[in-house]
Symmetry: C2
Amino acid sequence: MDGMNDETRWLDDTERRAWLSLLAVVLVGFPELERTFRPHGLVHVEYGLLAALSNEDEGLRLSELAAQMNMSQSRLSHRMRKLVDLGYVEVTGDACDGRVSIARVTDAGRRFAEQVSPAHVADVRRLIFDHLDAAQTAALADALGAVADRLGSTCPGAPKGPPVPKARA
Amino acid sequence: MDGMNDETRWLDDTERRAWLSLLAVVLVGFPELERTFRPHGLVHVEYGLLAALSNEDEGLRLSELAAQMNMSQSRLSHRMRKLVDLGYVEVTGDACDGRVSIARVTDAGRRFAEQVSPAHVADVRRLIFDHLDAAQTAALADALGAVADRLGSTCPGAPKGPPVPKARA
DNA sequence: AGGTAGTGCTTGACGCTTCAAGTACCAAGG
DNA sequence: CCTTGGTACTTGAAGCGTCAAGCACTACCT
């Protein structure tokens, strides 16, 4: 059982440092981001939805929204129910195709997103960019961008556009 | 409401690309990592616990384990209950201090961790490092390491040690 | 001793994500 | 028409993480 595959290429020191640091940033940093939204009764991904919809005055098909946000449709559906109940978004059926629904942000939703975005950007800076100089930031964008671009198989609707074109922060 | 604070420093293009890419990697990549463990009835963080304990033949205080893994004690407690029920770890009270508990990995737990670790490393490579050259990997380790080191206030028990000294992958 | 504070860990409730089904609708072929 | 298949979305159950309390034990103070 031990010798089933000795050809495994373990991580070298640099890779291990990168991986463990990523885990640490995610495990510690992301929960901290949530703390900014919790007092308002929302979670980070819901803010992301409001921000994405704020850039789409025509509204957005739910499936397209899910693709943009890298969410499953099920997950999106659960979050949308809450955002609709809160009055932050409206969903209307499409006239042409009875299956599709179009989501639009309401004024209240747009107002909310604009209200909390400064605090959110400040959090992201405090968490990440305050600790990096310009060269490190550029290198981080380069490396993570390369990785993110290769995940692309999750975005079937937009094979040629930039991977994550919208969103304020 | 809009002019409450116009001094907000928004993210520039590079920072936004870094941030959105990080979100994409986490939102898409991490759930994919989980899929390797799910068939075995475990989640990634539980594998991490087994890996961490596998390096500590003397056993480890639960609070120290929690600090090493960047987990809350509550979260650790919930995961440990499951790992104990599965027979992968044992927890014994400490003789000197009746409050502390010492966790040790069992033979079954060690065997399990060794059995799945090749697949896990392969996942991490497929997700991250296969898309990066040596320079990008080094830059990623440098940038994320800088960020992770600054989160340190979460590790009160080890102010001078390396931030994440152990763990196989 | 006895009381008070503090540490180490556990528990229960609640919200979120996932997975597997399920509903509603469109589109082709008989 | 009406079935078959596929698309867009929703629902319910199960598991995980978080928060706020709670329990057990230790340490200090008088």
